[in-house]
């Protein structure tokens, strides 16, 4: 009945049992050493320690072992402050405090593939994958599905069911605008010239944790999927594309001097990139001008939307009222006009742009999903809630011990792995008994295949929108430098975890992980959780009367200052990490006070400035980076500075001791515990902030032994 997973994770029950049921417990009555009688308190104390250090109640054999004359609790403790139960116990404390699991979705437009069902040449349904907002040379399909409503009979757009009556799409048209690709989620060897290791047929030993949903494995007629049909632009494999200008100018704009963009997309696909790609540089491919203050049109995106991309749902909403078949004034029967050229596109047409970035999707017709579609994630429907992979809903006992397995939306794939990364990071800290300060300062982490795909490629799609106007067209100083990602992990290697010794100079323990930055999406939320969890302090408002005020500086506004005088400088450490994101804004391009972002004569900042700089702290000479106003110095110190500064405070060690001690005692720490906490803190600091020292000190303390100090007369009167 007991099935062993292929790679049983560190915290699995089996490993706990293996660690805790050594052969010494197999007592033979004839040769058993002499026993001694223990008191009820002895048994209870052992049960308590066993529960805390092994993660379960002791077995009969373990209890019998304690009755041997040569058994020693201290030795037993020494042997159990290292095992998986101990690691899980400590991890649980900080997971309870930080709650690093996602109730969020992550659907990066450049990375998200949707799937449409159209009528093939024989009239039978067939699937075609596409990206929302993909730029295409044809006006009839630019930023829409690659076949027009006139060609398919359907209005196809992300976020909503297709509308219309499907009509047969001739093979010639299909071949012209779509192509077949053997994608990474179906082929282990998707990078080879002729992929042959199909999932379920030829893929040697697929990871048991990697399970695409059935919908990705079969065609509408039920036959197994061996290749997927993808819009041709999405199927392109190059790393670098070019800014495309269609020649469609915005209403009222002067005639642009358009350099022709590449008209035809280059050929893809598996291991066969089309045109040779220009070299990729970590620096911007061409300097961009910071938009002049007062301008109102420079920050428009190609589709005429504001600089910050509109959510997918808004595209669907715009198209929803109309039906296919309704006479349309737009080419191909599309329901809305094709995007016009932004000023940026007109000025930079033909310039190179990295395909993995947001700009690759927004500005280039020759940027696709890469070889084997490795820059994109599949889904089985028209929105990012469509299922893609199986993984557990509940896994409270850790990896390898799921309570279930469910079809999960594509948009939860990466958040799921972010959480696993955070747990790994904590587990490593406690397993290896590393300096606990690394929780806020460490550079290392652990990645598996999906995380490798994320850090190498997908995270780059977060950038760059308004940032491009400041010269950042691709992330220049990412929190996790893609160069440091292990190169030999494939997206489907879900069970293979590799240590990354150094994520990059801006990395800072948990603080720069996507899980932390998305869970605590704003700079203030990030600062507040540090204050609560790592300094054991709370924000308590004073009794000041809240009078109407237009004072933007909350550190001095009456009624707000009590908390915000502390919170704002903490939040400032995170000013360089964009809210609800992990795009890092380097100091050179985004100075804390930017003299190019000035108020115009109407008191406004221009769009890109407004997205990143705070108009409340702007004047005629410049503006302050959002969240930085209370402490520009902290902003420049970045989250790494927060980690360094907090771990250097005396509160940090004392707070760690309080959090762990409180958890082991099962009650809040009170002033009665001052002596205990002082002693434990002193030992903890002397040991180099090692949790093992702290836990040994706690479980050997008198307070712990008496933590369930109810005499037998007050013990529950159950029979």
């Amino acid at each position: 009945m007991l099935r062993l997973p292929r790679a049983l994770p560190r915290l699995s029950l089996l490993s706990i049992l293996v660690a805790l049921v050594p052969a010494v417990f197999a007592l033979d009555a004839a040769s058993a050493p002499p026993t001694v009688s223990r008191t009820l308190d002895d048994y209870r104390h052992f049960r308590t320690v066993a529960i805390d250090l092994t993660g379960r109640a002791p077995t009969r054999e373990e209890i019998a072992a304690t009755e041997r004359a040569d058994w020693n609790l201290d030795h037993w403790i020494d042997g159990h402050v290292t095992g998986p139960g101990y690691v899980e116990r400590l991890t649980r404390i900080y997971m309870d405090l930080l709650r690093l699991e996602p109730n969020l979705t992550f659907s990066d437009p450049p990375a998200q593939l949707f799937r449409a069902s159209i009528a093939g040449p024989d009239g039978k349904p067939m699937y075609v994958f596409y990206r929302g907002g993909q730029r295409r040379p044809r006006e009839a399909t630019d930023a829409d599905f690659c076949l027009s409503p006139d060609e398919t009979g359907l209005v196809i757009r992300p976020g909503a069911e297709a509308v219309g009556t499907p009509k047969k799409v001739p093979q010639k048209l299909l071949d012209q605008y779509t192509m077949l690709v053997k994608p990474w989620w179906l082929y282990k060897d998707y990078k080879s010239w002729t992929p042959s290791q199909l999932y379920g047929a030829g893929w040697p030993n697929p990871d048991p944790e990697y399970r695409p949903v059935e919908g990705l494995l079969s065609e509408p007629d039920g036959k197994p999927t061996t290749a997927v049909r993808v819009c041709k632009e999405e199927a392109q494999g190059m790393d670098v594309g070019h800014v495309y200008a269609s020649g469609r100018k915005p209403p009222g704009a002067p005639a642009p001097a358009v350099k022709p963009g590449p008209g035809k997309p280059a050929l893809p696909v598996n291991g066969k990139p089309g045109a040779p790609a220009p070299p990729v540089s970590g620096k911007p491919l061409a300097p961009a001008k910071v938009v002049a203050p007062g301008s109102t049109s420079q920050h428009a995106l190609p589709n005429g939307a504001p600089a910050m991309p509109a959510p997918m749902g808004s595209m669907a909403a715009a198209a929803a009222p109309a039906l296919a078949g309704t006479p349309s004034k737009f080419p191909g029967g599309r329901l809305k006009a094709a995007p016009v050229d932004s000023k940026y596109a007109m000025e930079h047409a033909g310039e190179a742009v990295e395909c993995a970035t947001r700009m690759g999707l927004d500005y280039a017709v020759d940027c696709g999903c890469g070889v084997g579609l490795e820059r994109c994630e599949p889904s089985t429907g028209f929105n990012f809630d469509s299922p893609a992979f199986y993984y557990p809903n509940h896994m409270p006992l850790g990896p390898g011990m799921p309570l279930d397995e469910a079809r999960q939306p594509a948009s939860r794939w990466f958040p799921y792995w972010w959480s696993r990364e955070a747990v790994r990071l904590l587990g490593d800290l406690f397993q290896e008994d590393r300096d606990f300060r690394e929780i806020l300062t460490g550079h290392r982490t652990f990645v598996n295949g999906p995380l490798s795909q994320f850090y190498r490629i997908v995270q780059r799609g977060n950038c760059c929108g308004p940032e491009a106007n400041f010269g950042m067209k691709t992330e220049m100083e990412p929190l996790f430098d893609p160069k440091n990602v292990p190169p030999d992990l494939e997206p489907t290697d879900v069970g293979t975890w590799k240590m990354v010794a150094d994520r990059g100079p801006h990395s800072a323990g948990l603080l720069t992980t996507p899980m932390f930055l998305q869970k605590y999406a704003s700079a203030r939320a990030r600062g507040a959780v540090l204050y609560n969890v790592f300094m054991c302090k709370s924000f308590i408002s004073d009794k000041a009367e809240l009078l109407p005020s237009d004072e933007p500086n909350l550190t001095i506004r009456p009624g707000c200052a009590t908390c915000h005088a502390t919170l704002e400088p903490l939040a400032a450490y995170f000013a360089r990490v964009e809210p609800a994101s992990f795009v890092f804004l380097p100091e050179a391009e985004f100075p804390a006070r930017n003299p190019t972002c000035k108020k115009d004569r109407n008191g406004h900042l221009n769009g890109p400035c407004n997205a990143l700089y705070d108009v409340a702290f702007a004047d005629d000479h410049g503006a302050m980076l959002r969240s930085a106003y209370s402490s520009p110095a902290h902003a420049d110190e970045t989250p790494a500075g927060a980690g360094r500064d907090i771990t250097q405070t005396p509160e940090f060690a004392q707070c760690a001791v309080q959090q762990v001690t409180s958890s082991f005692l099962g009650r809040p720490i009170s002033p009665d515990d001052d002596t205990l906490v002082r002693g434990l803190t002193s030992d903890f600091v002397k040991s180099g902030y090692r949790m093992r020292t702290l836990v040994k000190g706690i479980v050997r303390s008198d307070s712990y032994r008496k933590a369930n100090n109810m005499s037998s007369t007050t013990w529950r009167g159950a029979p």
Binding site: G55, E88, S419, P719
Partner: protein
């Protein structure tokens, strides 16, 4: 009408020592510990395997699915910022009961109702031989001690004085009730008696607190 008067001094009726020692509440066993212990008692199974065995597909309906119990057992849900429960509640106690009965019944089937007798060392919970004939207090004691150690972590001899006697009475009552006219049960009266003792221990407050 009672006229006002000076208060009378309180009369001492006795002297009692005041216990000023700090008292601590017992802690609830964390749900992770409960579940690991449960799985270990089930033979070291993975959760999905334990669920399969507990459901068994025999129409017993003694177990639903872990997903149905996970919040009732007090697990936190970090996704929704739901903290862990640190005190029991009615729903949790009901979940303990249902899970406990599933464990005892399936363990009894595994340990005592196999086609061939299972060696004692291979038994999950009932790691003793069932005596032939009527079980008296003398025969009950050591077997109860095995179960007591299994669930509560210490010898029955150290428990409150009446515990073994009360559980023996429970056993006898169950055997006697079960022996009445054709109860619809897959257990013999003896087996039902031992299952009942198991129910009592797996739901005992000492099993859920520490």
């Amino acid at each position: 009408m009672v006229p006002p008067s000076a208060p009378l001094p309180l009369v001492a009726n006795g002297v009692a020592a005041e216990d000023t020692a700090r008292k601590e509440n017992l802690r609830m066993v964390p749900p992770e510990v409960y579940m690991r212990t449960y799985l270990q008692l089930f033979g070291g199974l993975l959760p999905v395997d334990a669920q399969k065995r507990a459901k068994a597909g025999d129409g017993g309906s003694v177990f639903d699915s872990w997903d149905d119990y996970v919040s009732a057992l007090g697990f936190p849900d970090y996704r929704f910022d739901i903290p862990r429960q640190t005190q029991t509640n009615a729903l949790m106690v009901a979940a303990f009961e249902r899970l406990g009965i599933a464990l005892c019944d399936r363990a009894l089937e595994h340990d005592l109702k196999g086609k061939a007798p299972l060696p004692v060392q291979d038994r999950l919970i009932f790691a003793f031989d069932l005596p032939k004939g009527t079980v008296d207090a003398k025969a009950f004691g050591p077997r109860f001690d095995v179960l007591h150690r299994t669930f509560l972590g210490y010898p029955a001899a150290l428990a409150p004085p009446q515990r073994t006697a009360r559980f023996f009475q429970l056993y006898r009552d169950l055997v006697s009730e079960h022996a009445k006219t054709s109860p619809k049960s897959r257990f013999t009266p003896d087996e039902a008696g031992w299952a009942g003792v198991c129910y009592g221990l797996v739901r005992h407050p000492e099993f859920h607190l520490y």
